[in-house]
């Protein structure tokens, strides 16, 4: 069945890298999307991809550019991103804008874990992608993909606002090319995902060990 990944804001041909989207689509088709579920998926994904809410999360310089795309000139509200949430429970994706240090890494992981599925991660700027200028430092994580799965990378130091918008549109497309009912975006199989979820639940049941010091 035909599913398209057109988004309103930009023409399909104008994207530089359509191959990965094609590959994702092919995988979907090969797995045989059921017609009824497929249509339902379409509707849900149309809604989701147009109202992706970011978590207000910024650690350093890239965060200022993130604020700039929230302001009037670049205005990401045009694409449905404007409802930045301060609580991870209400956010759809986390834009890792800035350097992640060793001390911050567990906190970031925790924020990610607190977000509700489906959730996405956008690594913004050299620091989030690979450690950037501070790669050799004793206290910088060289790439957030070492600790959480990343969906879109936006290179730059800091990326220009246009680049950020481009990256966010890529995220929209990715969301559209996914099966919502069944199939998730973690790059792992459903079985594996369920296993991890169960592992998590089991862990939290042991509430005596759960750290309530209130870091988040």
């Amino acid at each position: 069945m035909k599913r398209n990944v057109n988004i309103k804001s930009m023409k399909y041909e104008d994207f530089n890298d359509n191959e990965y989207i094609e590959a994702m689509l092919k995988e979907l088709r090969d797995n045989g999307t059921n017609v009824i579920v497929g249509c339902l998926d379409d509707v849900i994904e149309w809604g989701r991809s147009n109202s992706l809410w970011p978590l207000t999360f910024a650690t350093s310089c890239c965060g200022i550019e993130f604020m700039a795309i929230g302001a009037a000139r670049y205005d990401f509200a045009r694409f449905g991103f404007e409802v930045a949430r301060s609580s991870p429970r209400q956010a759809d994706f986390i834009m890792v804008a800035g350097t992640i240090t060793h001390k911050m890494a567990p906190v970031l992981k925790r924020l990610y874990d607190q977000m509700a599925d489906p959730k996405y991660v956008v690594a913004t700027g050299g620091c989030a992608i690979s450690g950037g200028p501070f790669k050799k430092s004793y206290h910088v994580v060289d790439g957030v993909d070492k600790i959480i799965p990343v969906d879109v990378y936006i290179p730059g130091c800091p990326p220009r606002p246009e680049a950020m918008l481009y990256g966010l549109m890529q995220l929209q497309r990715k969301v559209k090319a996914q099966r919502f009912l069944g199939g998730l975006n973690k790059g792992i199989s459903e079985k594996e995902y369920e296993r991890r979820m169960r592992e998590d639940t089991n862990k939290t049941e042991d509430y005596n060990e759960y750290d309530e010091s209130g870091l988040a």
């Binding site: 910024a58 650690t59 350093s60 310089c61 200022i64 009037a72 501070f134 206290h139 994580v141 209130g214």
Partner: protein
């Protein structure tokens, strides 16, 4: 106080064991045993009330120690003291936190980085790194493999260690509770929209009233100072822009100026002029962002959009010449990266014309607003004395009535040739801290206006050797950054990379005073206080 004799002679009289060393800026080497006595006399009798910078050092064979930059705010006299303890394993020094409040956090930093025990310091926890961090990273013998990425959540310890020295030279460790059992402590940050970055407070409350704040930083500690030690001088320039990214120009200006001073290089008037204009544009940019964010925190979202609207105009001008919006990497050693864009002068003039009337808009919508005034006036008062003692420079210090502008205190670049007013207000509350910055935008416009038509002809990049080696010695240079004195301290051993490079953070003194000024305030005021102190967290953590 009239300047009786030269400070060098006076120190020699007070403490004959202090040795003057001439390399670089020159400093006194003081033995550990006599340091405390000398510090007390300098503080109490000689009027050195401002600890500009405290730098932890690893001198290898000579041991671990600190370099103190002191200033007498009344006379403008400066003196540099270096103190070393040769016992590397158990280095200890007397604490001076009671003489200069700003030493409190700085000593914690030096303990964190070098493992120097400050005897008498009441709360010698690590400042930046995790409590379970092994070793001290800025020591030359630090082994990086000790600390792999640790994904365990960090336990917060509620105990403050302090060290006492016994007669036989060993240390006794004592622990004091930070909070009482019955205290109600809440946690704010590191992920909190109002902390302006990843800063964390633990706040003890009684009802709504703040009793105590325990600041945790280091969530964005990037180890820049250590990185610099392995980079050549031109390479180190790349990192300063990313410290306080709202003062990128000024930070880099300070570093370039410091290296130029050490090289004995005088830059042309054109370079000085361009740098001055750029610094001021950056200041306007930063202050606009300050207003935007403060107002957003206080619920006035419109001003956020206004601020960003005007800020984009500055960024456009900067971008045209430098190629960068936020991080410009423009200054170089002995000049600037590229000559100004042909449209630069015209655009800057247009901007000045545009910006002046816009300032009224801010006043109309926010300054005069009843709610804003209610929340800002009288909250978070920082006295002049405290501002000096903490070393809270920049707009914060000037709002408290301390004329601490480096542009006036130690003029550099073109600042002695332009006519501008140093904005000094006296109440030290949130409102004054806000007003100082709005008024400073006007002054910055004035400065630019005086220079823009008469940018001298000349080179925009002096000739420098491709490989830069500094002679042996140490230098300190400061500029007025967007939020206070930004200083660079370089110690060179004659190589092409620095032996030690320290950045005097503008933000560290600002957060160190937050506990003092927020006590007895309401928890909601903390947001206004934090907002008006105007710190940038990566600049605190470095």
């Amino acid at each position: 106080m009239e300047n009786r004799t030269d400070i060098k002679e006076r120190i020699a009289a007070i403490e004959p064991s202090a040795v003057w060393s001439d390399a670089g800026d020159g400093m006194f080497k003081v033995p550990v045993t006599s340091f405390r006595g000398l510090a007390e006399r300098l503080r109490n009798e000689e009027g050195f009330d401002f600890l500009r910078s405290l730098t932890g050092m690893d001198w290898g064979e000579e041991g671990l120690g600190c370099v103190y930059h002191l200033e007498n705010t009344a006379t403008g006299e400066n003196v540099v003291l270096a103190v070393a303890d040769p016992d590397r394993e158990n280095a200890g020094m007397p604490s001076v936190h009671d003489l200069w409040k700003g030493a409190d956090f700085n000593e914690r930093e030096a303990y964190d980085f070098f493992g120097i025990k400050f005897v008498g310091h009441p709360d010698l926890r690590r400042l930046f790194l995790r409590d379970d961090w092994k070793g001290h990273p800025l020591r030359k013998d630090y082994d990086e493999s000790l600390n792999p990425l640790n994904m365990e959540n960090e336990d917060t310890s509620d105990e403050a260690p302090s060290y006492e020295l016994t007669r036989d030279g060993s240390y006794i460790l004592r622990r004091h509770p930070l909070f009482e059992d019955q205290e109600y402590v809440i946690n704010i940050g590191p992920q909190h929209p109002a902390t302006h970055g990843v800063l964390r407070f633990r706040v003890s409350l009684e009802g709504e009233t703040i009793k105590k704040i325990d600041v945790h930083s280091g969530y964005i500690h990037r180890g820049i100072e250590k990185l610099c030690e392995s980079l050549t001088y031109p390479q180190t320039l790349g990192l300063t822009d990313r410290l306080d990214y709202l003062g990128a120009m000024q930070n880099r200006h300070a570093l370039c100026a410091c290296i130029e001073k050490a090289m004995g290089l005088e830059v042309s008037d054109r370079i000085k002029c361009i740098r001055t204009i750029m610094d001021e544009l950056q200041r306007i940019d930063s202050h606009l962002l300050f207003i935007a964010c403060l107002c957003q925190d206080m619920g006035a979202l419109t001003v956020f959009f206004f601020g960003f609207r005007d800020r984009e105009k500055v960024l456009d001008i900067l971008e045209e010449t430098t190629g960068g919006r936020l991080i410009q990497t423009y200054n170089t050693i002995g000049g600037v990266q590229a000559d100004i864009h042909p449209d630069f002068v015209r655009k800057v003039k247009e901007f000045i014309k545009y910006m002046r009337p816009k300032l009224n808009e801010y006043h109309e919508i926010f300054t005069g607003n009843v709610i804003a005034r209610q929340r800002l006036i009288g909250t978070g008062v920082l006295s002049r004395e405290d501002a000096i003692s903490f070393g809270a420079t920049g707009g914060t210090g000037r709002a408290s009535g301390w004329a601490c502008d480096v542009r006036k205190r130690h003029p550099y670049a073109m600042y002695d040739k332009v006519d501008f007013k140093e904005i000094v207000l006296g109440n030290g509350d949130c409102f004054d801290r806000y007003m100082v910055r709005v008024l400073e935008i006007e002054q910055s416009l004035n400065i630019i206006e005086q220079l823009i038509d008469s940018i001298p002809e000349g080179e925009w990049q002096m000739k420098v050797k491709p490989v830069i080696k500094l002679p042996e010695g140490s230098w300190y240079t400061a500029v007025e950054g967007s939020r206070g004195e930004f200083g660079v301290y370089i110690e060179s051993r004659g190589d092409k990379s620095p032996y030690r490079m320290k950045f005097r953070s503008t933000g560290l003194p600002l957060v160190s005073c937050i506990d003092a000024i927020s006590r007895e305030a309401k928890i909601a005021d903390l947001i206004a206080i934090g907002g008006t102190l105007d710190y940038v967290v990566p600049d605190i953590d470095r």
